[in-house]
Amino acid sequence: MNETISKVGIISCSGEEIPEGMIARQGVRRVLEGLRPQQTVTLCLPLFLAGEVGERRFAREHPTITVDGCDKLCAKRGTEQFSGAVNTSLVVTDILGGPARGCHRSTRHADKADEQAVWLVAERIAAEVDALAAAEVPNDVTKVPATSGDVCACSRPSPNGKLEVNGKSVIINGLPLIFEQLQKNGLQPGNGSADTLLETVRIYHFIEAAEEAGYRDSLQAAYQAFCQRGS
């Protein structure tokens, strides 16, 4: 890949006191690791204060999305106070339609309620990343060469999935995570899974109408294999 892309910066609140902080943080991680690994980058919010000039340039160099756990908006206010203007401000309680009921502060106790909340937040962040990427990028935004190695912001390999669709090799960001979530939600492999698979993957990966049939077959087969492997 020789083209260049602008990395979207995502800043999460730290939110140690509340479960929504964990949801914000895990949602951001999911986008960085699985859903939009090549288009996103992050920074620890308190580093704006503790860090140096380089860290404080962050929001001036990246179109930035902040993800806050509550209406105190620490991520948004902190980023604007110490770095630069924010393009999009998200709040977990707004996305979930209220407090994260049944969710936990610690990942040790995370259960289905946490998983679902994290997915809702991650999907919303990913949609906002797409919206920013689609918008015209200002000239002063840093252009970062796109990597071909599928590496996320913390330099770990991202869990992409490769499919053969209509004889072509296609890479889908976060496919194993999507399969994992659908499996947890009880989706059984087989003929009845194709519609759900197609509609879910379409959220993260553009599918042309003419290629839908090919994607349906390939996704169904890949999901079947995923479930048989047990992971």
Partner: protein
């Protein structure tokens, strides 16, 4: 990095460390302390809230002895508590504890492995030890 601890309450302030596993280890150590090892004696505050100057949070760190847990040498937790005029009883460098487990796989910034959880217990035990030693003096 030492000071006085009241026997009644301590604030454990962790870095928010979202880029690497070190941040998650620090954060989980806090919950292990507040929820299990020192319930009613240890509490936490959002570091971002402190960093953005929330008056109530600043007052808390100024009035209550703090133990900071940092996942990297940038020491965000320590520096932000210090900048807020907080009372730092002890600053713990979680990455030093992790260095002692050379070659271990701690998991990721999203989920800890078994070895990651072992370090959580180790860091939390270190905090309890400091808390009890300081409270006894």
């Amino acid at each position: 990095m030492t000071g006085q601890i009241s026997p009644s309450l301590v604030l454990i302030v962790t870095c928010s460390g979202i880029g690497k596993v070190h941040g998650l280890v620090s954060r989980e150590a806090v919950y292990h302390l507040t929820d299990k090892l020192l319930p009613g004696q240890a509490d936490t505050v959002c570091l971002a809230l402190l960093a953005t100057g929330d008056p109530e949070t600043r007052q808390k760190v100024q009035q209550t002895p703090c133990i900071t847990l940092d996942g990297c040498p940038k020491l965000c937790a320590y520096k932000n508590v210090e900048l807020s005029g907080g009372k730092i009883a002890k600053g713990i460098r979680v990455y030093d504890t992790m260095k002692r487990h050379h070659g271990a796989n701690f998991g990721t910034a999203t989920a800890l492995s078994e070895e990651g959880w072992e370090v959580v217990e180790e860091v939390a035990a270190e905090v309890v030890k400091i808390f009890r030693q300081e409270a006894a003096t």
